[in-house]
């Protein structure tokens, strides 16, 4: 009895934050999810199951139990990096489970991308990143002097994007003036001051070959493990989504869809049989630069994953007429995935 009490105590202050600054939290074994929270158990191989509310969580060895609060949450997203004083005040929630889906998208997100806890700030940043990428590549349009029709189209696209990518439903989204909390002029002044200091501190370095394709340093092992987990878990779900998203009537488009599915299947196999990051051959270590190169490829493959989810969101809204264009895009994404998986497998530079 005492033991159980002690066990639960450390997580209590955090658990209170669920629904406010915290969206999801891994629970210690034997704890019950806090009131009004739901529980998801994630197995080591990424399979997930939801538990009935307000029951003791029974997790088997190797499983992690998450409690999450369905919300609603509100976050101010900044859709453009160069327009920090304009935001979108978005409120979203984790929807009731869709009985038709075999796995809820939010559960997959928890399994594939969350380690231990999911802060609201981190989730908002991920949403903002997905939104910015879509705006930059033209999947969503939010141009200056947006007309009402364009705004409605944007809202629908955003709803679909957040549902497909994170399993969130958007309740409300309004443009807001963030001038009270962000001052672009001061940010620019601070940037100028920083650059002056940096210029004084160090003479500019010659670009070395290493810096070429690797402007910022990162930990290859951690990045690669995270990316490979995402690829391993999300590719099968993506294929399932592509099958379900549209049933092309035109034979030509149907063939393209089938070809895409086959190629994705092969990519999925390649991911499952991916060599370890640090091995060039069994028992033969790989040089650190080559590991970095491999990790860069797996990171880029994750960008393609994000694009693929966004594309699925667009596919669900598009009619038959929009399919050729979207399949063009899908072919690009799959080609990128293939190229990056190939790059992740290789031990040396390509010719």
């Amino acid at each position: 009895m005492m033991l159980g009490f002690l066990k639960r105590a450390p997580s209590a202050p955090d658990a209170c934050e669920l629904g406010r600054s915290l969206v999801a939290l891994a629970l210690p074994v034997g704890a019950a999810p806090p009131a009004s929270c739901q529980a998801v158990v994630v197995a080591q191989d990424g399979r997930t199951r939801r538990l009935q509310a307000a029951r003791r969580i029974e997790a088997r060895a190797g499983e992690t139990a998450y409690a999450f609060h369905p919300g609603p949450y509100t976050a101010d997203l900044v859709p453009f990096e160069t327009a920090p004083e304009i935001g979108l005040r978005t409120s979203f929630a984790i929807d009731a489970p869709d009985p038709q889906a075999s796995q809820q998208r939010f559960d997959l997100y928890l399994a594939a991308e969350v380690a231990g806890r999911l802060e609201l700030g981190a989730l908002a940043a991920a949403i903002e990143g997905a939104l910015r990428h879509e705006l930059a590549t033209g999947g969503l349009e939010l141009p200056p002097c947006t007309t009402l029709d364009e705004w409605n189209a944007f809202r629908q696209g955003l709803n679909q994007l957040l549902y497909m990518r994170f399993g969130l439903t958007v309740d409300d989204c309004l443009p807001v003036d963030l001038g009270d909390v962000r001052d672009y002029a001061q940010e620019l002044a601070a940037r100028a001051a920083r650059q002056e200091q940096a210029a004084l501190a160090a003479a500019p370095l010659e670009p070395s070959p290493m810096a070429v394709s690797n402007p910022e340093r990162f930990d290859p092992a951690a990045e690669d493990a995270r990316a490979m987990r995402r690829l391993f878990l999300e590719l099968p779900c993506l294929m399932c989504g592509l099958r379900l998203a549209a049933m092309p009537a035109a034979p030509q488009q149907f063939q393209r869809q089938q070809a895409l599915l086959q190629r994705l299947d092969l990519v999925s196999v390649a991911v499952n049989a991916m060599p370890a990051l640090e091995l060039a051959a069994p028992g033969q270590a790989l040089a650190p630069e080559a590991r970095l190169r491999r990790a860069r490829h797996s990171r880029r493959a994750c960008v393609s994953l994000d694009e693929a989810w966004a594309l699925l969101a667009r596919l669900r809204q598009a009619g038959e007429a929009g399919l050729p264009l979207l399949y063009d895009e899908a072919e690009r994404i799959v080609a990128n995935l293939e190229a990056d998986c190939e790059g992740r497998r290789r031990t040396g530079e390509e010719s």
Partner: protein, 348 residues
């Protein structure tokens, strides 16, 4: 990116040098077939070819999406002089044009170098005098010309301490017209404490400069910007502003809307278009955010149809809505651009 009708197979970009000679860079696109995404060749200089590949790869990091299906082969017609780096910008632009990221006519000739291609910055150019080449329409790198690759579509450098944004406006003179641009760069203003609210408007006008323009244009620029900033409500007393125009001769006031929108974008107060912002319109009441009509619907629409590229955003006065040629909006959409007829500036 996804609805570019035709991408060229081969693109050339010239690079004039300080001694009057010219290099020609040729970019060719072909199927990747498992090869490197960029291949470069320089006669008798494999190390320079390596450097060129490095430059192009770095510059590609600033693009939002990538396509691994193409290989671009870049070649230069002869070996550049030692320590000559002006070809770098030409290589980057040729690589973008051949992949359809830039219109093929965007840059026929260019000269520029950079130490920060991965951030899209262009450090400068190697021509002795900018004037010697300006008649040929050469794109020059550096603060006086193209300081950032994003500026080709009007966007500011997201990491710079000065926010500079370009917007375009249609110029029409008889048959031939072209797009002129206006560039607004804003610097944060260190504000002295205790300024009286009375002369805020006057003060604001003092912080706006349009170097190289005559007094009447200066005044028009200042009044338009002050009015629009008054409408914005949060802009006065925070910025020092410089306005530059493209070297076209122009009459009339239809550049005002482009100026006002460039100012809003530079101050980070409006949604950012994916491509260029092209606007035509003026106003007698910028302080109310109103957009008034201008002349020349038909020649300007014809020009816009010729010039519009994927991602461009076109803003026209609301009164033009009924006068637009048939199928104007549809054709623009087919080219990847979008158009809106606006009554007033503002978010929606």
């Amino acid at each position: 990116m996804n609805n570019i009708p035709t991408r060229p197979q081969t693109v050339q970009c010239r690079c004039p040098l300080a001694d009057g000679a010219e290099l020609v860079l040729t970019a060719t696109r072909r199927a990747r077939a498992g090869r490197a995404e960029v291949k470069c060749s320089v006669p008798d200089d494999p190390r320079l070819a390596e450097r060129m590949q490095q430059v192009v790869r770095l510059a590609r990091l600033t693009e939002p999406s990538f396509d691994s299906r193409d290989q671009v082969v870049l070649s230069i017609d002869r070996r550049p002089p030692l320590a000559e780096r002006g070809w770098e910008l030409a290589a980057v632009l040729a690589d973008r044009m051949v992949r359809g990221l830039l219109r093929p006519g965007a840059a026929g000739a260019a000269n520029g170098w950079s130490d920060e291609w991965e951030r899209g910055r262009v450090g400068g150019h190697t021509l002795a005098s900018a004037a010697s080449c300006s008649q040929g329409g050469t794109l020059l790198g550096g603060p006086a010309g193209l300081a950032h690759l994003g500026l080709l579509s009007g966007h500011g450098d997201p990491a710079a301490a000065v926010s500079a944004v370009r917007a375009w406006f249609p110029l029409h003179s008889g048959e031939a017209g072209s797009l002129g641009w206006v560039e607004v760069s804003v610097h944060p203003l260190a504000r002295a404490a205790g300024q009286a609210g009375q002369d805020d408007a006057l003060e604001e006008e003092q912080t706006i400069a349009a170097p190289g323009q005559d007094a009447a244009r200066q005044l028009a620029v200042r009044q338009a910007l002050c009015g629009a900033r008054h409408f914005d409500g949060r802009a006065t007393g925070r910025w020092r502003t410089a306005v530059r125009f493209s070297p076209h001769a122009m009459v009339g006031r239809s550049w005002e809307l482009a100026l006002v929108m460039a100012d809003r974008l530079a101050r980070g107060r409006d949604f950012v278009p994916r491509g260029r912002l092209i606007a035509s319109g003026c106003s007698d009441a910028w302080h109310a955010g109103r957009v008034d009509p201008v002349d020349g619907v038909h020649p300007k629409c014809a020009l816009l149809l010729r010039e519009a590229a994927a991602g461009d955003r076109i803003l026209l006065p609301r009164t033009w809505e009924g006068q637009l040629p048939d199928g104007f909006a549809e054709q623009l959409r087919a080219q990847g651009a979008s158009v809106a007829c606006v009554e007033r500036i503002g978010l929606i």
